[in-house]
């Protein structure tokens, strides 16, 4: 690990002005610093900031402080009752020890687990812009099939972010100049394009202070994660779903996907194709056709295209079976 300066932020307004890399749970950042994938000159410890509350909002939703741990969030009774898809997604991620450290804000900012990003002897446009992408034509079993570019085919690793995307969560931030703003998760992440090193719309020194959930969604909540081990492994494909039935037909369907792209993936056309339809495998296939119309395999990850279809159909069948 390279040497670095350390500062502890005493209040939210000074955190950005301390001009360093924010560290909270540190479970991803310190891992990457040991490998010298990340080499910050200064760390700003934000763990003493008062951002650990979960409070109800005026519109019937919840505001989750950025420092609420993944464990505490998954176990929070209101999350388990009203946002089950989020609790399920959190519990599907990492291990008990990591969830006890990892925070809500930090989870959103996880870096990809692409092995070329992690291995500094290899080319990676995300780690070292302009050096090339080793995964294209290389070992790419875990890589993206949607929204890729010829510069980067990495996936976003978070389970939590997939549920946040489905729930239309809003990220609250404070910029280094003290001003604040709100960013819907739908607009928070960027596709790799020509600049895969830029992963979110956050500015330098902009601190995530909270994530706000709108009022709860009625319906059946599901989070299905397909991975190489039964526990403690990243998703090959994951599907978050909230489906509401009415009179034997799908009244509302919300779907978000992990493991497929550089960001949590959501496609309004997939959801619209299901609304008003009967829950049949033929209709689920039509939705999968729309989801995967532009899907592109890279060789080793070609299996993700049929796997995404099957996982989507299995989740929809399960979520509509009681109707």
């Amino acid at each position: 690990m390279r040497p670095f300066e350390y500062a502890r932020a005493g209040n939210v307004s000074e955190a950005g002005a301390l001009a360093g890399r924010f560290i909270a749970g540190g479970t991803n950042l310190l891992d990457l610093m040991k490998l010298e994938v990340e080499t910050p000159e200064k760390l700003v410890d934000i763990t003493r900031l008062p951002l650990r509350e979960i409070e109800e909002t005026a519109d019937g939703g919840l505001r989750i402080g950025a420092l609420v741990t993944n464990s505490d969030l998954a176990a929070e009774p209101r999350i388990r009752r009203d946002y089950e898809v989020l609790s399920r997604a959190l519990l599907a991620g990492a291990s008990g020890q990591l969830r006890n450290k990892a925070t809500t804000g930090g989870n959103l900012l996880q870096r990809t687990r692409c092995s070329y990003f992690y291995e500094t002897s290899q080319p990676c446009n995300k780690r070292e812009p302009g050096s090339g992408c080793g995964a294209i034509g290389g070992f790419n079993r875990i890589h993206a099939i949607l929204g890729t570019s010829d510069k980067c085919i990495a996936t976003h690793p978070s389970d939590m972010a997939v549920a946040m995307r489905l729930l239309d969560a809003v990220v609250e931030t404070q910029k280094a100049d003290g001003s604040s703003r709100e960013i819907p998760v739908a607009e928070f992440y960027r596709l790799p394009g020509e600049t895969p090193q830029i992963e979110t719309v956050l500015d330098q020194g902009e601190l995530i202070t909270a994530v706000r959930l709108p009022k709860p969604l009625q319906g059946e909540h599901r989070y299905r994660k397909v991975r190489d081990r039964a526990s403690y492994a990243f998703a090959l494909v994951s599907v978050a779903a909230v489906v509401r039935m009415d009179g034997g037909r799908i009244a509302d369907a919300r779907l978000a996907f992990g493991g497929l792209a550089h960001m949590p993936w959501r496609d309004a056309a997939v959801e619209q194709a299901l609304v008003g339809q009967e829950p049949t495998m033929a209709n689920f296939d039509k939705a999968a056709d729309i989801l995967l119309a532009e899907a592109k395999g890279q060789g080793e990850n070609d299996f993700k295209i049929p796997l995404a279809r099957r996982t989507l159909k299995a989740v929809l069948a399960d979520a509509t079976k009681g109707a």
Partner: protein, 154 residues
């Protein structure tokens, strides 16, 4: 400044019970309790834990006063080489605290309900602790035994 909580305990305080396996949060051999919750001590900086209460395997019990979890690992032969064992034991103690606080897991049928401790639950909740000797069946048995005993004496 770069010193992890694990290195601070092992190299500076001489508390070598906690083990350094992968040093990347993947194996769980370094598990400690910080303010009662289990974490990977290799993946956090000592300087970030000023004022925190840290419990290592040495703090749970020793040869003269074994913790029920330590006794259960001995009774069930929950190890072979022993390298992962301190992390397994500390993690298991932390895990039982999470269960008694009603935290659900990925193996919980209905997350709205409180947690119970089936064998599947133990396996899921302990997935952050690897054992390369694969003593897993005996580790699961040890945790189940200790859980029952700790409930009786609580």
């Amino acid at each position: 400044m770069r010193t992890s909580l694990l290195d601070a305990c092992r190299d500076h305080l001489g508390l070598t019970g906690s083990k350094k396996g992968c040093d990347h949060g993947q194996c769980g051999a370094c598990t400690m309790l910080v303010n009662g919750r289990r974490i990977n001590s290799c993946l956090t900086l000592a300087v970030m834990h000023e004022g925190d209460e840290v419990t290592t395997i040495e703090g749970l019990g020793g040869p003269a006063n074994l913790h029920p979890m330590q006794e259960a690992f001995l009774h069930h032969d929950g190890f072979q080489c022993g390298y992962c064992t301190p992390g397994q034991i500390v993690s298991a103690v932390g895990m039982l605290g999470e269960v008694s606080d009603g935290w659900p897991s990925h193996a919980t049928d209905d997350v709205k309900d409180g947690a119970s401790l089936s064998l599947d639950e133990i396996r899921e909740r302990m997935s952050g602790n690897l054992c390369r000797c694969s003593a897993y069946p005996n580790i699961v048995d040890a945790i189940e035994t200790a859980s029952t005993k700790m409930k009786e004496t609580a």
